[in-house]
Structures are given as structure tokens and as C-alpha cells.
Symmetry: C3
Subunit: 464 residues, 3 copies
């Protein structure tokens, strides 16, 4: 009994992590072998066959050329953006980038299967191409948002288990919203940000650690770790226009979404700097705000970005998003922790939660105000069929938000309890936010002073 308890409490990953990774990958490979096929645009024979059927289907019409540059931008956001954004902790850089890398690499494979399963099998097969790659990365983004809430307090095994459940529920929720309710959410204000945020917040609530302040001294940044985090921030900020536009329809919607997001983010940045200085007694800017709140403008136009929101509307939304995000970091996060026992390491409620809900509301309102005189056809699929009713559209968008919140909170609750089992090697309260538990960490720098390396005499001789 003692032995078993010791093992359960141990953080040793020697068997747990390899076993889980290998089992998962083997399952993935088997399922891919059974279920996944190239789609028409990636299959050697089908693409060629389709070409000969139609004189107008040229190479440049392959979806690759419409979507691949956007895919790569999204890819950078997932692996560099999220990964480095979380390196702000002084002793958790290896885990931030490394675990981000691991769970993203797993999630994108699992998401391909789950999304393919729900979003339409073709004769029992899942078809893949650049659009499925983008969607898989999107789903992965949702898991990484949740990772931000539990950052520093979980083992890699826990994170993989969380990803298994979250990806599955993400695909179900996405199916309900996009296929059943016919909602628009190209940039994922609801499906990605709201879902990922409230899922993660519920998980961290269930995993509440009353004695987390034993690791408090490591739950902060140092000078260079904040600069590494800014790499993540800036890449997320720059490529957000590609994120929101990556899977919109070709032509004007893709173009317009990128434009709207660009203006929303710019306005959001000015709001962030303004309120960061304003809420500080000495008027000093806070890196936490700049690193996070400046991105809220991208989240908040995730639904309406493809609509005729106009640059004017985008800037108002962005400005609001930046404002509530800074205020959330300053005033709401401490309350969530002290009153609701929600320990949100990265403040995902401020970056993804509230701005995601704002984005959903903006999307519902913009849909409800849409008219054929402004849109022609294009964004709203039912416009062409004449069954278009903007008010009911707005209603479906609003219902979608409610469904997302319900799915996220319920899913996070269940997943949280599963993650609470003492079998995953989670860090003890005294050793949170610490790479040393799961990584070989190098010693300190030696020979930093030049004359340790070579005496001036030696140096002179070498360079003579």
C-alpha cells in the first residue's frame, strides 16, 4: 500500500510518459490507416482525373494555393505563439515550449480524426488536405488555451489526457455549432476561444491547490523570460489576421477578414497600453498586460471578422476587448482566485474567455443586422436560397454561445475529475512552475568572464 502510494505521488515519468505516448501514437496510426484518405486536391490520380474532366480546373485552383500560406501562419501561432507566450515564468521555459510542442503534436493528429468523423465521412473515410490541417491546428489551439490555465501545475501525462478529452468535445461542439445550428464562426471566437477558456478554467477549478503559494516565488517572470514571452505575443498578434481568415470562403471574405482583424488588433493595442498605465499607481506599464491583452482584439473579431463589420466596427470591438482584458487582469483574476478558487496561471479568462464571449455577441449582433443589400451572397450560405432571416441567424449565433459555454463547463468538470486521479505524476505544491521535475536542466553558465576563458596574455598571443 505504501509502495503504491509512493508511486502514485512520484513525478517520475520514466514509464508513464513513454507508455502513454507510444500507445496513443500506435492507436493514431492504426486509425489513420483504417480511416484516412487523400482528398481530391492531394490525391495523385483524383486531382489529375478531375482536371481532365474540366478544362478550367488548373493547378492554381488547387486549394493549396488559397490556404497554405494562411496555414503556415496559423502553424506558427500554435507552436511559436502559444509556446513562447508561456515562457514568461522564470523556471518553466522548457516545459512551456516543450509540453506545448508535445500536446500540439498529439492534438493535431487526434483532431484530424475527431473532426473528420463529425464533419462528414466520405464512404466511411476521412478526407484530408490543407483545410483539415488548418482545422486540426485550430482545435489544437483550443487545448493550448486550456493549458494556459493549468500551466506549471500539471505533468505532461495529465496534459495528454486532457487533450484526449478536450479535442473530442471540441469536435462535438464544433459539429453542433457549424453543422446543426448553421452558425458562422470562422475565427473561432466561440468554438476555439470561449470553449478552450471555460474548459480550462473549469479544469483548473477542479484541480484547485490550496497550498500553491508554496511555489509562489517561482510563479513570476524574470527579465529575459519576459522577452522570450514577447516573441510569442508578437507572432500571435501579427498572424491573427491569417488565423481568422484561414478557412473563410475564397475571395472577398478571406481578404476582408484579414483586414478587419488587422484594425481590431491595432486599436486593441492602444487600449492595452492606455489601461495598463492607468491602473498602475506609478503609471508604469505591465508586461503581463502587453503580452496578453493586446491580443484580445483578435479573439473578439473571430466570429464577425468575415462579415461586413467595417474597419470602424472592428476598431471599436478591438478597443473594447483590450480594455476589458487589462481590467480583467488587474481586478478580476485576483477575485477569481480568492473567491472562486480558480487558479488561472496565464489569465486565459482575460485573453480568451471574456474577449471570446464579446466576439460571440458581436457576431450575433452583426448577423442580426445583416441585409442582402450589404452582402449580396457569400458569407451567409442561406442567403442564396432566399431563406435568409437575419434575426433568426442572430438567434442561432446566440444559442451557439450558450451551447459552447455549457459544453466547455461540463467537459472541463468531468475532465478535471479524471485529471485529479493520483496516477499522473503531477507536481507537488512545493514544486510547481519548475522545469527540474520533468527535464534535465543544465547547470549555470561557466566562464562568462573573458579572463576565465583566457588570460589577457593568452588572448594576445592567440590574436597576434
Amino acid at each position: 500500500m505504501t509502495d503504491r502510494l509512493t508511486m502514485a505521488e512520484s513525478t517520475n515519468m520514466r514509464l508513464r510518459l513513454p507508455l502513454l505516448c507510444i500507445i496513443l501514437e500506435v492507436i493514431l496510426i492504426i486509425l489513420f490507416g483504417a480511416l484516412v484518405e487523400y482528398n481530391d486536391d492531394t490525391h495523385a490520380k483524383l486531382w489529375n482525373a478531375n482536371k481532365s474532366h474540366s478544362a478550367t480546373r488548373d493547378d492554381y485552383e488547387n486549394e493549396f494555393y488559397y490556404r497554405y500560406p494562411s496555414f503556415q501562419d496559423v502553424h506558427v501561432m500554435i507552436f511559436v505563439g502559444f509556446g513562447f507566450l508561456m515562457t514568461f515564468l522564470q523556471r518553466y521555459g522548457f516545459s512551456s515550449v516543450g509540453f506545448n510542442f508535445l500536446i500540439a503534436a498529439f492534438s493535431l493528429q487526434w483532431a484530424t480524426l475527431m473532426q473528420g468523423f463529425f464533419h462528414g465521412m466520405h464512404h466511411g473515410k476521412i478526407h484530408v488536405g490543407v483545410t483539415s490541417m488548418i482545422n486540426a491546428d485550430f482545435c489544437t489551439g483550443s487545448v493550448l488555451i486550456s493549458f494556459g490555465a493549468v500551466l506549471g501545475k500539471t505533468s505532461p501525462v495529465q496534459l495528454l489526457v486532457m487533450a484526449i478529452f478536450e479535442v473530442t468535445l471540441f469536435a462535438v461542439n464544433e459539429f453542433i455549432l457549424l453543422s446543426m445550428l448553421g452558425a458562422n464562426d470562422a475565427g473561432g471566437s466561440m468554438t476555439i476561444h470561449t470553449f478552450g477558456a471555460y474548459f480550462g478554467l473549469m479544469v483548473t477549478r477542479v484541480l484547485y491547490r490550496p497550498n500553491l503559494d508554496k511555489s509562489k516565488h517561482r510563479n513570476s517572470s524574470v527579465y529575459h523570460s519576459d522577452l522570450f514571452a514577447m516573441i510569442g505575443t508578437i507572432y500571435l498578434w501579427m498572424f491573427w489576421p491569417s488565423f481568422n481568415s484561414a478557412i473563410t470562403n475564397y475571395g472577398d471574405p478571406q481578404h476582408r477578414t484579414a483586414l478587419n482583424t488587422y484594425y481590431s488588433l491595432a486599436a486593441c493595442t492602444l487600449a492595452t497600453f492606455a489601461f495598463s498605465a492607468l491602473v498602475n499607481p506609478e503609471g508604469k506599464l505591465d508586461m503581463v498586460h502587453i503580452q496578453n491583452a493586446a491580443l484580445a482584439g483578435g479573439v473578439a473579431v473571430g466570429t464577425a471578422g468575415e462579415m461586413m463589420l467595417t474597419p470602424f466596427g472592428s476598431m471599436i470591438v478591438g478597443f473594447l476587448a483590450g480594455t476589458i482584458s487589462v481590467l480583467g487582469y488587474k481586478y478580476l483574476t485576483p477575485v477569481l482566485e480568492s473567491k472562486l478558487k480558480i487558479q488561472d496561471t496565464c489569465g486565459i479568462h482575460n485573453l480568451h474567455g471574456m474577449p471570446g464571449v464579446l466576439g460571440a455577441v458581436v457576431g450575433a449582433v452583426t448577423s442580426a443586422l445583416a441585409s442582402p443589400g450589404v452582402y449580396g451572397d457569400g458569407v451567409f450560405a442561406d442567403a442564396e436560397t432566399g431563406k435568409w432571416n437575419p434575426q433568426s441567424r442572430g438567434g442561432f449565433q446566440a444559442i451557439s454561445l450558450a451551447v459552447t459555454l455549457g459544453m466547455a463547463l461540463f467537459g472541463g468538470l468531468v475532465t478535471g475529475f479524471i485529471l485529479k486521479l493520483p496516477i499522473y505524476g503531477a507536481p507537488p505544491d512545493t514544486h510547481c512552475f519548475e522545469d527540474g521535475l520533468y527535464w534535465e536542466v543544465p547547470g549555470e553558465e561557466e566562464g562568462h568572464e573573458l579572463n576565465e576563458v583566457a588570460t589577457p596574455n593568452e588572448m594576445e598571443k592567440l590574436n597576434s
Copy 2:
């Protein structure tokens, strides 16, 4: 009176920065609401309408697909390239990346209005799309060049005020060059680099600080800050072909410009390493040269890059640019400071000033030597009309350089005096190059040694 003086000299940003940011953003939003519209390629109805009018206008002809990948590369240069290039200072990384972020987010909005206003209103409206996004980023680049001259010696409020004036004058100068003089300057050797450099140099001249050596010990790099700066350098270097080609005509000019810039930069890099070692008594390479001079080759083909400069010509220009840039850092910058009282923190005269002028001259000569036998039509708009006169073209290019220098020096002079008013919270001479004035700076790293985190005994127990 004493109170007022104290306030004026204080560096507290609590009211000044939020007030300015919020007022500026509100003005921007109002002007965008009144003046800005989607263009034909971003508007849902107009794009669709245009499609039905013409059978050949397909989705892949949307300007988005020609320009958006280039836009994203330019965007990376503006936010990561310029931002990280300036992190070389040991204690100014937050401000370098952060203020770069702030003034860029403001400038791109303001530039959209100013450039739209000067470059042709459509029935009283400014039309936006990916090309206006690139142009706004270009104008922003000019402001960031000037930022390099005053880096470490200005408050964020001062920088925003500088941006207001510089963007406005940039748009005027660009209008004179491109619309009135019909000059070619796709990569902005004149409009961006020469203008930004001499504007910034004049501003820093007016803001001359005789006692700046009180902060001298902070006006240098440390090991890791130089590596952060190399992130900026390498991104600028890699994406410069996209920068110079982003707004050229479609097809061969865009392709050729990228190619010419690629070769110019490669040759420039070899020159930079050669002269960096040559001018050092011990033959050691200097990070300042590598970080900056290796980029001069991109600046110097900003005008002629779209022309039939040939790889051969590009490499000669790049080699020259790298050479003068290193020599400038070594021999000219100290003289500019001691004799002309120009304190140029980043050495923008060597990276943007002289190479920009070189680029303008190369552009004028290449234009003057152009012939229809080489070009057909394409680069030179008047070639088709038969009014083509290469010599007069070369002349207009030369006049453009003179106009740019005049506008930049005059604008920098006026702006410098405005920035000298003691109301912006500029840092005192003793506290330049220091993040701590405007940022919450984290303390030093704790628990870096593993056995502080856990005694070997504890560790063993955890991992057993």
C-alpha cells in the same frame, strides 16, 4: 510654479500616456467611421458584383492572393524585425519591443488615413485592402527607423507625438514623389529609408543631450541581448525580398524584385563580415556591424530592385552598401556625435541614411539607362504611352531624392522642437536606456540552482 515644474519633469505616465492613447484612438475610430470603406476586393457585394460582370474575374484574381504573403512578411519585419533589432541594449528590451509595438499599432492606423487622403479619395472615401495595409506598414517602418535614432532617450508619449507628425509628412512626401514626380520607389529607398533616417537624425539633433554619458554604462549590450537583437536582424534580412517586392506590379516585376534583393543582401553580408574584421585591431567581428550593416543591401536596392538591375548589378550595389555601412559605424558615427551633436543610438545613418541615398542614386542611374529594348512595358508606366524619356526619368528620380532630404530635415527640425517641450515625461540624462522608468521590471531570478528548489534527497524521493 514649483508643482508645475515637478510635474513637467516627472516621468510618470499614469495620466499622460492613457489620455493620449485614448484620445488618438477615439479620433482614429471617428475618422475611420466617416471616411474608410472596403475596396472592390474586400467588399462582399462589390466583389461578387464585379465577378458577375466579367467571366474571367475568378477568386484567385483577388489581390489578396498576390499580396497577402508579402504583407505578412512585411508585418513580421515591422513588429519582430524592428522590435527585436533594438533589444540589443542591456536594460531596454521591454521598451524596444514594447514601444515599437505601440507606435507601430498607432502609425499603421494613422497612415491608412493620411495615405488614403493623399493618394486618391474615391467619392470622398478611402478604400482599403491588402495594398493599403502594406503601404501603412511601410509608412510605419519609416517611423520606426526614426525611433532607432532616439532609442532610450524618449518617453512613449514623445514617440507617439513624433509618429503623428512623421506619418503626416511621410504621406505628403510620398504623394509628391509618386504622384507628382512620377518616381519609382517600390521598396522605399527614398520614401521610407532616406526619409525616416534624416527625419530621425534631425529630431535627435534637436533633442541633443550634452550629459548623456551619465547613462553611458547602460548604452551597450550584454551577451543575451545581442542574441535577441539577432532575431530582429535575421528576420529583416530574410524578408527584405518581400518588402521590396510587396507593392510592385504583378508578375515579373514582383518576381524580379525579390530576386534582386536576395542577391544584393547576400553580397552585402560578405562585405559586412569582411570589413567588420578588417577595421578591428584584433580582427574580431563586431555584433553591431553584423546586426545592422548586413541589412544595408536591402535598403540600397529599394528603388532599383524592380528594374532590370540584374543579379550582377544587385550584388555590386549590395557589396557597396555593406561596405559603407560598416565604415560608417566605425568612423562616421563617433564624428557625428562629437562634431555635429547627433546622438544616433542605433546608427540609423549607417543602416538607412547612407544606403538609402545610395539606393536613390542607383535608381536614378538605372532609370536613366533604361530602354524599351530591355523592358518592353511594365515597370515604367509611361513606356506604353510612347512618352518615355529615360533621361528625364533619371532626372525626376534625382529630384525625388532632393525633395525627400529636404522634407525629412525640415520635418525633423520642426518635430524635434515640438518634442523638446518639457511636458512629455522624457527620461533625465541619468536614466536613459533604462526600462525601469516606464515598466514594471521583474526582480532577479530566484532558485536557479536545483538544490535550492529541492534537496537531492527530496528530488530522489519525487522521482522514485
Copy 3:
């Protein structure tokens, strides 16, 4: 005699490096002037002329739009990916990024000439465009792989001399494989990775230093240098789909290659984490594995990625590649050093050598199993002519691997002996892995504590 010996042993670069750089660049410029021309897609007149001949040749058919986004991704891999991957050493960051920059800038120019010379002159001229840019970057990648083996033990002059020979032999080997043997190797498992790895391993074998342990204390990482290295890793990982697909045929092959590489890398990452924890006695992850082995999946589908490998097949290959790579780092590298005297600083045998050979074998098998029923036409050029014989194809692929290994080992041997001449200023055994020999290295950080910058009293006054 003594004087000459002293000079030969000196590491002073003052004359050697500038002289070599300038001579090389002058030769390059002359050869470019004599031999290099714009191709049809970059030439102002030819592009226009071709357009008027054919009604269907529109701007969007310029190869620029098919390949330039991929080119930029490859470019990032070469300069940021390789450059930062090698910054893991505690005191060699300047040299890692800086020498990577120098030899890449040289190699891409020299490669343009060598590849142009071998791959078909047009009336005595080499034609350049985006495809030649990608190919030149590919060849450069091979040199940078070899750089990884000798990292920390060579002077920049030695590296440039190595690049001269390696680029030349690369072009010969590539010509034999692609033009004479008709092999497929779009992502360069053989031409780039296998060649670069075994070339570099042979060079480092010849340059064996029995007393290298005198610099052992510097041949390791520190905390922040490992994070810089992760920037390189993640960029290589993200953009590898672009690398493998950059020069495949348009349409489905380009699309399919990116897709296969994406899945291979994802599976490889899970294998890497699994085996990294498994081979460590305490179950801790090792940054060396994560930084390197996770990339082996990209190497191993470099040949077969464009074929109908299927995601299923790609994932199996990726999983195997990650596994052998980690095991290689753990068990093979120490043996190679102790038994075979191969000092492989970055472990290129594990990242490029073995996975490259695996990729070649996978490519041969996939070719041998190909059938027209699966492919139609497209990937295999001879399929259309009816002369298609999969078995002989597989055979030619296998012969190509053997040729590559022979060329690499022989070329590395000869080049190694050339680099052994005591005239290049190589570092002494006591000063390997040390930036200070070739760079001006800044002193330590001053004023890191806030109260050195300003006493609390002063600060308060400033902010009042």
C-alpha cells in the same frame, strides 16, 4: 620559421577573413556578370512577350505565386532554423548565428552558379528565378548540416573553404542523382541530408582533436541558450512541410508532400518525447533530444513525401525516425566519438545521417511499389511515356543512396585534409566552443538591480 608558425597558429582574422570574403565575392560578382540571366518569369521583356503569345498565360501563372511562400519558409529554416538551433552552446551563440549567416550568404550565391552550371545552361547562360533560389537554399542547407558536426572547432575561414568544396560536390552529386539516374528526391533525404551529414562527419573525423576535453566545460548548454535553440527547432519543425514541397510539381504533389510531412513530424514528436524519457534513469526529458530528434520525421520523408505514401505511411516513418534519432543520441554518439574518433558537436548523424538513409530507403521502397492505378501520372515523369517500371525505379533510388554516400565520404575526406592545413586560424583545443576568439564579446550586465539604477527615493521623485 618561428614567425611563420606563430602566424599559422594565430586565430587572428584581421587579414585572412576580409581577404577571403572580398576575393570570393569579387569572383562571384564577375561570374554572375558573365553567366547569369533572368529567366522567362523574371525578365521584363520575356514575360511580357510570352504573355502576348498565349492568351492563357496570366500573371497568376508566374512561378512566383506557386513557390515564393514556400521559398520564404525555406529561407527561415536556413537562417533562423539552422542558426538558432546551434545556439544551444553556452558561449557560442554569436558564432552559431553569425557564422551560419556568413556561410549561408556565401553558399547560396556559389550554389546558384554550380547548380546552374550542372543543371542545364541555356545558350551558355544560367537562368535564375524563384526555383533557383530554393535550390540554392537547399544546397546551403547541406553545408549547414556539415557545420553542425564541426561546430565550435573551426574558424570562419575554414568554414568558407569547406563551403566552396561542399557546394561544388553537392551540385555534382545532385546532377548524377536527378539528371543521370532520374531519381526522385524533392525534399532531399539523399541530396541534402545524407550528403551533408556524411560529408560533415568525415570532415570532423579528419579534424579529430584528441585533446578536445580541454574545452569540455564549454561544450554544453545553459538555461537560456537552450531556449534560444528551441526557436531554431520549432521553426525547422513548422516549416518542414514547405521545405519538402517547395520544388515538387505544382498542384497535388506540392499539396500532398506538405500533408505527408506534417503527419510524419507529428508522429516523430511523440516518439521523441517517449524515448527521451525512457532512456533517462530518472525519466527526465533531455533538451538535446527534443531540439533535434523531433525533426527527424521531416528528414525521413524527404524522398517519399511527394509520393502516395499516405498519412498512415508517413506517421510510421516519422515514428521510426524519432525513435532511431533519440537512441542514436543516447547510445551511438558516445561510441562514434570514443571508437571512431568522430566528434559530432550537434549530433548530425542522429538528425540528418540515419534519418536521411531511412528516407532514401523509404523512397526506394515506395517507388518500387508504385503503380499507375494509384498515381495516374505526375510524380513519376516516365509514367506517361509508358516506359514505367517501378522495380527499376526502386533500384535507381537505391543506387542513388549508394552514390550519395560515396560522394559524401570521399568529398569529406579530401575537404577534411584541406581544412587541416594550419593556415586558417582554427581555435586551439583549449579555446573551442568560445565566441571570444572571433567576436568582440560584451561584458557582463551592469545595473541589473533597480536600486543601482535609481535609489527608491530618486525613483519616487521621478514618478511623482
